[in-house]
Symmetry: D2
Subunit: 354 residues, 4 copies
């Protein structure tokens, strides 16, 4: 890492339309292009990919874009203020650092980097540069997750008992990334956003069912200083698609079901009563819990990526720290790496010191 | 344990109605009484409990029963051939062993015993006695679990990838037993019945949210010699009731949802394709899985306990080994105890040598 | 009908345990017996049925009951204050009138009578007698229907747009009663309880699929003086069991799903906006409705029949008019008869003048 | 209507890419443009709309298209072989007839025309012209409806008992079209495709809740020569979105739920048994039905409009009659008009003579 002189925050001037380039036009890149097209205050200048075929497809849909095969061409273009990086994960760190060094604001796809060392170097560089570094933790920008965050922060749920997350479906086994770095990256990022308390350790187990492949089924457990526990099930071999999070507190309990079309968040005014008297406990064992109303709040239905692109442009202009900044990205990478290490150590608890 | 001379199998004579006594008339005992009343080939002779209040309630409904407060009275009654034990778990071993020593066939509620040592002593005594020892692993006697067993045994699902079980609801925190010994006892017993392969180790994490209480949320992982993995989520602090098992194999994938009223078992003719060619894998990443029909077989709707009582009487008469015999009970207790030890060791993998 | 002298209200004295007899011990009678056993302030004296087999079954379970084959014996027994009639519908009127004439309070299964003339005669006799006549419109005594009534009465839903009811399942085609008199009797009784406004007419269509059988699929439409419309789908030939009512008003909309185990009633703070400007209407066509929170109130979970038996005993004691009195029974029978007439007239609208 | 000389079938030559124009660029037109772009064997030449604003939006996305405000310009362009009409329904007939007269093949949005007279004139002209007239009954081109058609045609369901359709949601009340012409048009078109037997009459009731508006809640009943009955519930004032069709036959019963993401069609091997013996009927009333497996066939997931566009181009080339030709469009319009007349006549049965 080059030595960096700490600089003033480099906010984009308020009345200037931000020039954006998208690097990587595979699955996710075109979504970024489409959304930046619809985001006020910016304009998409260029798309960049190694594959000419992909660039041609982009050009047919967006003939106004410069189609570039060289990242250098992107980085030296003075009309480009910001780059969005949607390339394979092992290239994220290098591309993001080059972009920062070229004075570009950066939005990088999740997971932010492939290693903790990369994550730390990138964050340090971003902090020193005064430029915006934001990670594409998309779900953080959904109406559902935003509403749950509000519930937790205002104490609607009370002190949390546990956080239980399931993200399973039928997916193609990938070669270059395990189900943890693919799916759990989403879930750890959501938890990182929702739960202010920092975890103290992580353990994980996984299974690999195809020779030469990577883990396709995994279970992660995240521990905290108190009795709070978080657990994640990620799985590419499920016949059914499930995306559910249970967050239970001593005041209320919430269910976030991302598959539901309208009522994605349900809040239950329910709880259990602790019987101090063992005799009474036995007698009332089947009835002594509190049952109250359930309600499903109306949620902002805006596409998450739309919100996210707007937030990125806003942060560039205002100098505000993004909700999913480089530090959030690094915390998530640290948890992913710790999970991987735990798997190698047969599920041992790997400490996380923030 | 007294020294035992191995005896001939003591089957009940074919034309004799089996006399049954139920020991323990709390929550589960009355269900046993009701079902034995409806089971051909037997008759209920006595109910036994320390509480006179409970016995009175039983007598109002079943005035023909002898209501006994002393187990001795049950055990010395020659008209009683068999006892069903539905008392707190820490009394199971002693009561079951006394009953076997008195020459009674025994059905004992799950979990069979509170410790592995007790389980082994009880099984040894039962084996030596030639009497029937059966454990009340109720779900094994449901139409759903029976049908899944058939699917696995006939190869309909193929080689299994994983077994994922969730049993969560809102329950009163109990004093004398953790959520593992209460709920996971069901799930480990179901898995023990379904999966012929024996597990090699178990790890578990849990959380306790009430001072002086026992674990109320727990996650267990069971490992096998190959890539097969089993996982269990048991939880008393969930706002919603879920009872689901996913069993995926390389031929088909099954979902067992015990909450569904009719289609409890769904079989999906689905799978993933492993791409050997990395380029193709990337290109086809979103589509290359196999999607086929789903079907939900019609299931035997008989109450599980009814089937179980009939099976118990049949085994007594025929000398047949019960589907959930003492060995199944002991295997389940071994897993529960190993889970508990793993929790104490921060989730370390505890070996299981069968 | 005999001429009747109007009498004083004949309430049962407050400190006297009411003696109850149940006439008809087929499917429903045993449920009545069980619930009256558990109802404070009364005791079950006798069960009456033409079938000795049925009476024997009752006696085994309830040896204290007098098992009678003659209704005369019931009616002349001075220890019997009230009778519950659960016989085939064509016998209801005659039995209920004889019971009233014998000075007994009467609870009669739905539908109250087989014809409008019978219903009117029975109600006149009950009114004249000063005795309690109550109809077993069971669903009116559920927590769900009670809560919806409260919502409508307090204006939570606003002015009602429509009432849409579906009750379908797979049932055995019956010989003596059509799907309308069997299933729609429930639904019309629920609507009669919930909606204060009286309907002005009814139309119905039906289909009969078995030679010699009665209608097994039917659709009923109930009209009111204003734009409010009610519709009922009843069906014995459905592969799936559905029991749903939609009640939409201009303030909120409610869904009552009786199959749901816990959230049976959901209230949606939703509505549509009427665009006066045709141009705007076209432009905004897909978005201009109001979406708000949904909530599912906690409901009283007491068994409906338990509430109903208690209410019957209360009304006898207090002289209070039952929520489902003879007039409610007669209104329901009038709607059923009008539906039948409409079917015979190819769906013509048959007026209902209350 | 001009006098027409019957002409030879005018199929488009096999090796020529068909030129397509889309008339009407409001809600549906852009979907047609997008899908014709992706349909092999054709190319989109022009988009036509009265609104310059709409045309500009189209041009931004598809700069290669001619953007025309005059239909005359479309009709006189010799490079345009076919037009797709997605304008308000009251303009359909005139535009379609002018297009046919100009020698263009025609795809017209549903409902085909606003009146029966228009429908008949249009069909006559199309038949005489030898050109392809196809109606955009979109759902007919879904994998779900195709699979159900196959089930019915091969006798998998047996003789049909009934057809029950529900299509309800929360929609903006429209000014120029009732819920029947908007929503029931879909459902009657689906039924027309699925059921070979022709209906003999239709009755309908509806309610209008906004002054100056059109019907927003409606129920339609379609009668056949035998006991088969079809029923439709369409509704813009429902808090929940439901799109379900039940089709029960004497061999099997099917549920088509368009909201389900994967298992849209479920087939139940269930039925009822007709008891000839009244005594047995009463005794067995609750159990005598047949319960068998349920299965959900895998369905073609291609977007319906994609299939439909390809079918339109195929029919033009091959001279094949479209699955949803002008006659299907006319039958649907006849049912819609009959429903409207029945509503005006208080639900009277309006005969349909095909």
């Amino acid at each position: 890492m080059t030595t960096l002189v700490s600089r003033e925050r480099q906010a984009v001037a308020g009345d200037h339309s931000v020039g954006v380039a998208v690097i990587g036009c595979g699955y996710w890149g075109p979504n970024l292009i489409r959304n930046f097209f619809d985001t006020p205050g910016c304009h998409v200048v260029a798309a960049c990919d190694l594959s000419e075929t992909r660039l041609e497809a982009i050009s047919r849909r967006h003939p106004s874009l410069a189609a570039l095969t060289s990242v250098d061409d992107v980085l030296r273009d003075p009309t480009i203020d910001a780059v969005a990086i949607a390339t394979p994960v092992n290239t994220h760190a290098q591309l993001a650092m080059r972009a920062l060094e070229a004075g570009k604001h950066v939005l990088v796809e999740k997971p932010m980097t492939a290693t903790v060392a990369e994550a730390e170097a990138l964050v340090a560089l971003a902090d020193a540069s005064g430029l915006t570094l934001m990670v594409d933790h998309t779900f953080v920008y959904t109406g559902a997750v935003r509403r749950i965050k509000q519930m937790i922060d205002t104490g609607e749920l009370g002190n949390l008992y546990y956080y239980d997350s399931v993200r399973i479906n039928l997916g193609l086994i990938q070669h270059d990334v395990s189900v943890i770095w693919d799916l759990a990256a989403h879930d750890l990022a959501i938890m990182d956003y929702l739960i202010a308390q920092r975890p103290t350790g992580i353990s994980a187990v996984a299974s690999t069912h195809f020779p030469g492949g990577m883990a396709d089924v995994a279970y992660l457990t995240v521990r905290f200083a108190d009795a709070m526990i978080a657990h994640f099930h990620v799985n590419w071999l499920s016949p059914v698609k499930v995306r559910q999070v249970l967050i239970s507190g001593d005041r209320r309990m919430a269910l976030y079901d991302d598959i539901e079309s309208t009522e994605k968040v349900k809040v239950y005014d329910r709880g259990v009563r602790w019987n101090d008297d063992p005799l009474e406990a036995r007698r009332d064992a089947l009835v002594a819990y509190r049952l109250g109303d359930m309600f499903a709040p109306v949620l902002d239905q805006t596409e998450a990526l739309r919100n996210e692109c707007a937030h990125f442009i806003d942060c560039m202009r205002s100098g505000e720290t993004p909700a999913t900044d480089g530090h959030a990205g690094a915390r998530t990478v640290r948890m992913l790496a710790a999970a991987e290490r735990s798997i190698a150590e047969h599920g041992a608890l790997v400490p996380l010191d923030d």
